[in-house]
Amino acid sequence: MMLVPCPWCGPRNVAEFRYVGESSARPDPATTSASDWRTYLYTRRNPCDWIKETWYHRMGCRQYFGLERHTMTNRTRPAESSR
C-alpha cells in the first residue's frame, strides 16, 4: 500500500486520491505557439527521479495539492507549496 501525505488530512491510502499528473508551468495561451501548447498538454518528462505532481483527495478534503514523488521508489515528500 502507498501512503499519500495530504497537507490537510495527513497520510492516507492512495486509493482515496486521484492522480492528476505531473505538474508543469502553464504557458500563456495568448502568446504561446501551437507546438509549445501541445507539449504542455501531452508531453511528460517521466524521469527516474523526483518529480512534482498534482493529486486530488477525492474521498477526503476534496482539495488539489502538490506533491513530490520519486518515480522509482514511490517515496513521497511535500512540495514546496503543497496547498
Binding site: C9, R58, G60
Partner: protein
Amino acid sequence: MSDTSSYSGPAPVARSPITPGPTRVGDGALSLNDESSVGKLLVHAPVDGPMAGALGTRFGRTAREAGDDTLVVGSGPGEWLVVASVQDLPKLTTWLEQQGEGDPGLVSVVDVTHGRAMMRLTGQAAADVLAKLTAVDLSDSVVPDGGAFRSSVARVATDVIRDDSGGIATSDRPSYLLHCERSSGQYLWDAVVDAGGEFGLTTRGATS
C-alpha cells in the same frame, strides 16, 4: 446558532434512502440508527472569513451549543455540514444566509437533506466496527469526541463525526455519525450491519 428569525411555514418532508431490512436485536450495547431524515445544510465559505467565525468551528472539529440540537461540523477546508431538525432548517438557512451577506468571499448554503444519507453508530464497540471498514485511526487521541474526518468507509466517501453527546440515552459511549451520498446510503448501511454482526449490533430504521 440560536439567533434565527421566525418561520411559520410547513415543515419540509425528509425521506430516508435506506430500507433497514429485518431489525436486528442485540443486547443493546451497540446500535445503528438511520438518521437520514434530519436536516442537513452544506455551507461553503472562506476558511478565515466572518462566516467561519459565525459557524464557530474549523475543519476536523464539531461544535454543538449546550441545549441546542444543531450540530456544526467542519467537514472540509472552507466547508461545513450543519445538522439540525428539519423543522429548524428554514430559520437556520435564513440565519446562515444573513451571515453570508457580511462575508466578502464566495458563500453558499445548500440544503442537502434529501441528497444524503446519515446513520448513527453508538456503543463501546463502535470504533471496532468502523475499524473493519476504514483505515483511519479511531483512537481517542486521534478522533476524540467532537472530532470529524472524511475518508473511505467501505470504499464510500463518508463523513465520520464523533458526537458522543448526541448519542442515544447515554453520553458515556462513543457515538459516530456516518454521512454519505444518498445513492450510497443503502450500501453503507448494509456494510455497517454486516461488520457489526459479530458485536451484537441492534438496528433501527428512520424515525420520521
